[in-house]
């Protein structure tokens, strides 16, 4: 087996996190997620599976949502990273998605919540969500075990409305659809 001397030495990298440049020395085997949580005490980003299967660790890197558990901190040297801690205004005013989450009770235990919110911000940056069905598909990378999905949808619709983007909502459809009888 490897002797202790074979452990890779730390590298000095700079991550701009929530607008603030943070220089840090990390060993290559530190994921971005663990760098945030264990090295920088930014524990708002959650570890739900550590394998890209739940979305709880979603952060924005250079404006794009990614799973921070599947990237190494050293691979992100020089990147701009936005975490849940960086979304509210300097004055403490909640980001519209955060406010909508509180209003619509779009969470229960709260553990998937930072990832959901960052994912929604990323989805809005991407600009491909036009219908409820689009939103559901494009938010399917964030699991919620408490089952808050319907409320998450409500929070997203409200945020889009506030932004002047109105997703076609099936909520307005007739509650009881008409069916063709089988032949």
């Amino acid at each position: 087996m490897h002797a202790s001397s074979s452990l890779a030495p730390p590298e000095t990298i700079t991550l701009t996190i929530n607008g603030q440049a943070r220089q840090m020395a990390v060993q290559p085997w530190v994921t971005l997620l663990d760098a945030l949580r264990e090295h920088l005490d930014l524990t708002g980003t959650k570890k739900g599976c550590d394998h890209g299967q739940c979305g709880a660790c979603t952060v924005l890197v250079d404006g794009k949502r990614i799973n921070s558990c599947l990237t190494l901190a050293v691979m992100r040297d020089g990147a701009e990273i936005t975490t849940i801690e960086g979304l509210a205004g300097e004055d403490g005013a909640l980001h519209p998605v955060q406010a909508a989450f509180v209003e619509h009770d779009a969470f229960q235990c709260g553990y998937c919540t930072p990832g959901q919110i960052c994912s929604i911000v990323g989805m809005m940056n991407e600009g491909h969500a036009r219908t409820d069905e689009d939103i559901r598909e494009l938010m399917s990378g964030n699991l919620c075990r408490c089952g808050a999905y319907p409320n998450i949808m409500d929070a997203i619709r409200q945020t889009l409305r506030e932004r002047g983007e109105k997703p076609a909502s099936e909520k307005n459809a007739t509650p009881i659809p008409a069916y063709h009888l089988a032949e």
Binding site: H2, A8, R65, H128, G141
Partner: protein
């Protein structure tokens, strides 16, 4: 995760040199599968070479009317690229049926081809696996094999290639461009992945010191008549039990060219030129579709929990062809 040294390459030749110089070194781009495997101790590379700074992220027109997808272009950038959307909607649709938006923002085209199987036993170092540890055995053959292969299996391995993108690439007859110590070469997509045979540890025919630089799409994109049917256990963010990429060219209700590739059923995207040939000259319709499906699945073999995939695949083929022909 083991300890590894870390290096960055800024030009392709340097990346290839790194691979040649360090036994067992691996390239990392998106990292979405490699880091996952490293955390499971399935992959234990002594050295990682970060290739994200190589200039391989472009999507460019090719002189023959095709399109070159840079190996480092992300799945998301590829799927939403205007040229891909307009000329290769089959590919766009297929990519978007895979993984999650976050993963597609990270995963690269080159890396996606190298995605390893989702076989439970491969992933669990507490069990034997011939792919992970040659000669240790294949518990999937007599074990939990609902997700496993029905075509091209061997006594050593019944794992599947789990990805989506390569299934569309197979139907599109894409070509993988690679660079090695001795220069560049091209590998047709159909020859890129391999069947497990007696050496299931090798997923594909890429050599250990080669770098994927691009994937070339030929001119023919089946923009008018295509479909990707993905059958899975939930509506999204799940691997395919069976998937079908279909591309047709039609004239006056008759099929003039047909391409069919299956995912989730074999160690590689599965194509059969004979099945495709059966469709040529036929009018689009259930009988012709079913005949092609039957032919495509003629050698399929089911195991204890996945025998359903044979009929499922036939139906998925029929559905994909129906959708493609009526699009």
């Amino acid at each position: 995760m083991n300890s590894f040294t870390f290096a960055r390459a800024t030009e392709p030749a340097a990346a290839v040199r790194e691979l040649a110089a360090h036994d067992g070194a691996q390239l990392v781009a998106g990292g979405t599968n490699l880091l996952d495997l490293m955390k499971e101790n399935v992959a234990r590379p002594p050295r990682l070479v970060d290739i994200n700074r190589l200039p391989l992220a472009q999507i460019e027109e090719r002189p023959d009317g095709g399109l070159r997808l840079g190996a480092l272009a992300t799945n998301a950038d590829t799927a939403y690229h205007p040229a891909v959307q307009a000329r290769y909607p089959l590919l766009a649709r297929t990519i978007l049926a895979g993984a999650s938006p976050q993963l597609r923002n990270m995963a690269t085209n080159g890396g996606n081809l190298l995605q390893r199987t989702r076989c439970y036993y491969f992933y669990d170092v507490g069990t034997p696996c011939n792919k992970r540890e040659p000669g240790s055995g294949c518990p999937a053959i007599a074990g939990l094999n609902r997700m496993h292969a029905i075509l091209g299996t061997s006594e050593q391995c019944i794992a599947t290639y789990p990805g989506d993108m390569a299934v569309a690439l197979a139907a599109l007859e894409a070509v993988v461009q690679v660079q090695g110590p001795d220069g560049e070469r091209s590998i047709p997509l159909g020859e890129f992945h391999r069947l497990p045979g007696d050496t299931p540890q090798f997923d594909n025919n890429l050599r250990p010191d080669e770098l994927i630089t691009a994937i070339d799409l030929p001119r023919r994109g089946f923009a008018k008549h295509h479909s990707y049917v993905k059958v899975r256990d939930r509506s999204s963010y799940a691997f395919a039990l069976v998937s079908v990429a279909a591309g047709l060219e039609m004239e006056g209700g008759k099929i003039t060219t047909a391409r069919l590739a299956l995912g989730g059923v074999a160690h590689k995207p599965w194509r059969d030129p004979e099945a495709e040939a059966l469709l040529v000259g036929q009018a689009a319709g259930a009988d012709a579709f079913r005949a092609a499906a039957d032919h495509l699945l003629r050698d399929a073999r089911g195991y204890r929990f996945n025998a359903f995939k044979i009929e499922l695949a036939r139906r998925a083929v029929v559905r994909a062809l129906r959708e493609a022909s009526t699009a």
